[in-house]
Symmetry: C2
Subunit: 555 residues, 2 copies
């Protein structure tokens, strides 16, 4: 029943072979120091839903197909649940609560979906406007809702979770289910040396898109087949034997066309890691380095911005989104391919160095501890904006005058960017994450979700408007990517170092390309739309990250 993580069970014969094969087909040329962790082994035992096999690159994973036709199954999946409380009102909560309420109604069930808020939360009126109300008990104080619910979906910020979890866990009914949309709390609890109460279920559903998209695509899904945001899901603890079905029911209920199994541990590591790498931190760092390089080489500020930032967040991202990373490379003529190869070869290993450091800082608990410490300093040191520097003012001007069709695809920029993306991928692969997760946390979230927002508003603006965890991480690691790319990659290139054939061969043959193709076949049929420069659409990195508004840290 329980979703197993790699440490808790010996692999069965056939899966052991699959894992061994995954190692065997791994890119060659790695030094002896590399230890490829056992592939995360993800099986789960659903009594209600149908498991399917899917081939992601060299490995097989189970998946579950969602869709509106599965809503009748929610009755069985949610058996015994009378009240679901969604705690918080950030990015995810309004979307997930409304979607679940609609799906439950569609299935003809009478489960109450309620919202829990702090007494002084500024969000009461907004929740009321969405149809939640004090009078019918669907809107109330956090701990009252928690103690009266059979299923508690905790969507307050990471910082608030870190602070409040002892009270939250204590308030839950025995046999109830705790739902998380991010594994961050597990990391916090590990640092604190504590575990979840054994008499509750603990599950995760992490939608691969921001809250507003989760709601918008769900609504489109009523008329457009296949619209919705995919989710990963995990069963951390199954006290009642029903945890997997509750988790999958939750994923399908919020509108996932496909649901991919993971573990809380795998989810928080890949998620916190990914946003520090190519999703946010790395992309910010490298465009700063590229912009400086291009202006020093004589480009005008506007041109340098186009050849770096615009190139990545526009055409390069779109090509990767629809046709994959190899297509970016293959789109170049021979001369530009050479430029790409040199930039890629020189950047890949320095980027991989920082990616490893980030992963191990996340896995060791360092990164989470630093976030918790930073939040405790916010009263004295609130995070300032980072998008007011010279470069980002140039960017504002460039975007205002943008002709989308004229944005260049710079082969040098593409080489550096794709190298950083591949480095992000490769560390997750070596650390044993499933390919569905690798693709989502390194590529799909970048090109389908974050880069389009960056394209509309700027990379630094995007960082300034993310969750604390993502924002702190991006501010911490962007400069590291910037420095190492300038200190190592650019120095190598300028000294005329040739492209590394082995590194290029590994890129061209990497199993992620076919895994990404599988993921693409499971893409929602409707694109995630993005607001423009003056749009009020909320932004936030990390699909599942949520905020308890700006007062999160004070909760």
């Amino acid at each position: 029943m329980q979703l197993l993580n790699s440490k808790s069970r010996v692999l069965s014969g056939s899966r052991q072979q699959a894992a061994a094969k995954a190692v065997r087909v791994a890119p060659s040329g790695r030094r002896s120091a590399v230890r490829v962790s056992a592939a995360v082994h993800l099986d789960f035992n659903t009594k209600v839903f149908q498991k399917e096999h899917a081939k992601f690159g060299p490995t097989e994973e189970y998946i579950v197909r969602g869709g509106r036709d599965k809503y009748p199954l929610l009755k069985e999946a949610f058996k015994g649940i009378k009240k679901v409380s969604v705690i918080g009102w950030g990015s995810q909560a309004p979307a997930q609560a409304q979607n679940l309420r609609d799906s439950i109604a569609e299935a003809g069930m009478d489960i109450k979906v309620a919202i829990g808020l702090r007494p002084d939360s500024p969000s009461w009126a907004e929740a009321e406007a969405c149809g939640f109300s004090k009078t019918d008990g669907t809107l109330g104080e956090v701990f009252e809702q928690i103690s009266s619910s059979d299923f508690v979906i905790l969507l307050i910020s990471d910082a608030a979770q870190a602070k409040l979890y002892p009270r939250i866990l204590a308030a839950m009914k025995p046999g109830a289910t705790l739902g998380l949309s991010h594994g961050f709390l597990l990391g916090v609890m590990r640092n604190d040396g504590v575990d979840f109460r054994k008499d509750i279920n603990v599950v995760l559903v992490a939608p691969k898109g921001m809250g507003p998209s989760v709601r918008r695509l769900y609504e489109q899904g009523k008329s457009v087949n296949g619209a919705g945001i995919n989710c990963s899901f995990a069963i951390q603890q199954d006290a009642t034997g029903q945890a997997a079905d509750i988790a999958i029911g939750w994923a399908i209920g919020v509108g996932a066309p496909f649901a991919f199994p993971t573990t809380l541990e795998s989810e928080y590591k890949s998620d916190i890691y990914g946003e520090r790498c190519v999703l946010l931190g790395a992309v910010h760092g490298i465009v700063e380095a590229l912009f400086r390089r291009y202006t020093r080489q004589g480009m005008s500020d506007e041109e340098a911005f186009k050849q770096s930032v615009e190139s990545i967040t526009g055409p390069i991202s779109r090509t990767i989104s629809t046709k994959g990373m190899l297509s970016v490379y293959n789109s170049f003529n021979e001369a530009d391919k050479k430029i790409f190869e040199q930039a890629y070869s020189a950047s890949y290993k320095p980027a991989l160095d920082i990616c490893f450091e980030i992963y191990e800082d996340v896995a060791s608990g360092n990164e989470i501890k630093s976030v918790v410490q930073a939040v405790q300093r916010f009263d004295r040191f609130p995070m300032g904006k980072i998008d007011q520097t010279y470069m980002w003012k140039v960017g504002q001007k460039v975007r205002a005058e943008r002709d989308e069709s004229k944005i260049p695809v710079n082969p040098f920029t593409a080489g550096v960017y794709v190298a950083v993306m591949m480095a992000t991928v490769e560390v997750l692969r070596e650390k044993g994450h499933p390919f569905s997760e690798i693709c989502n946390e390194s590529i799909i979230e970048a090109v389908d979700s974050l880069n389009p927002y960056m394209h509309a508003r700027g990379v630094a603006f995007m960082v300034d408007n993310c969750s604390y965890t993502a924002r702190l991480g991006s501010r911490k690691w962007a400069p590291r990517f910037d420095y190492i790319i300038e200190q190592q990659a650019f120095v190598d290139i300028d000294s005329g170092k040739a492209a590394d054939k082995e590194v290029m061969a590994e890129f061209l043959a990497h199993p992620v390309h076919s895994a990404l193709a599988t993921c693409s076949s499971m893409r929602p049929s409707v694109d995630i739309s993005v607001g423009g420069e003056n749009s009020s659409v909320g932004v936030g990195a990390g699909a599942a990250r949520t905020e308890f508004r700006s007062t999160a840290a004070k909760v």
Copy 2:
């Protein structure tokens, strides 16, 4: 007998007043979130040496005066010690071993001073050339020396200590004394959840200069009164009742004109913190930001380098070294004072933000854990050089053509640099470090030891040639200072934000200025000399940090 740390004893009446006074005279205007820790309380009970009071700013500390006339006291201090083994042959070991051997001979004692090396160490010949020999037992394998010695001075690299300490501790004789020149090992052992064996003494002596200086000034001390390198010392564990006298005897024996008490914890925190801040990391980060700013404003590359790096490592450092930070400010005319004030005000708080983050990452064990993890990745990801970027090539040219008398004292550069130095100071003060330590780890080591090396060879070269711990830390934090100064301070300045009167008033009235004056009165009478561009004099940040050569990580 034991050197107490702040947690282990209630302050006595008079010292309680002193601590309270220290808080009272602290710079005002701090927000309520600021908790000023109790001043580190440092008393020690020597039966052999004389304690003196010294007033450092608002607080009093004990000190011990050294000098050649104290060598006869070594007989009593080292009573019962027949053999001292110095383990390693990095920066500190040759200096400390030879100085101790000379001092012991001078005192007419027959203690054997020996060297312990790995069997495959490349340093055997060098140690032999310094008079240590296998035949008389003063040169031998590490663990043989440890198990046959009454006093083991462990001067192998941080990385090697982290790896080998269980074997080293196990090999020691009961009742023997373990001597460290850096508290790093305590941080590692805390992360590992273990403590020192209870049947040994554990003490620290940390010379405030690099190994070659420790030897050179000791030799000069034979003819020049007061030449020698000051040391801090600490008693972590006193199993025999003799630990304080062994520690002070060690400090005086290696040539300290003055010895200042601290604790292992206070030492490693301030040391690892300091090198990440103004000593290495911060100074690197801010000169990168300043160089970019000046070139963007239209200066030539050479001029920008002079107005940023040269200005700091040359005249600004020399003024601080001899006359203090206020003198830098007071040396400007009214117009330049305004520029300094604006740069200082805008930079201080952003720098303080990063300094707090660094301190808390050090104190929580994160930073040490990251260093240990990085060293484990060295086989695959060795640290590359960082001094080959465009800016540092400009620097090479500027240094080659340098006319020392024409290096400008740029008031903007001075404002940013002094702000970062004061931020480094202020966090240590708020965290309760004694002023002798604050001055040494934030100011004196910078202007008397590291900046002169940087002036000779470049900031990035200095970083490339430090211990792993310092180098990793500098690579990690330099970019953070760079980004926050550009993102916050420069943006404020360019938007015309006026100087902050309160921040300036705090700077002018800060107690560190008078504490630094006290420290200056205890300066060695001979300056630490520095090699030029092609000198083969070893460099290394962190007075006490040592390397087991380049193979340290493999030990």
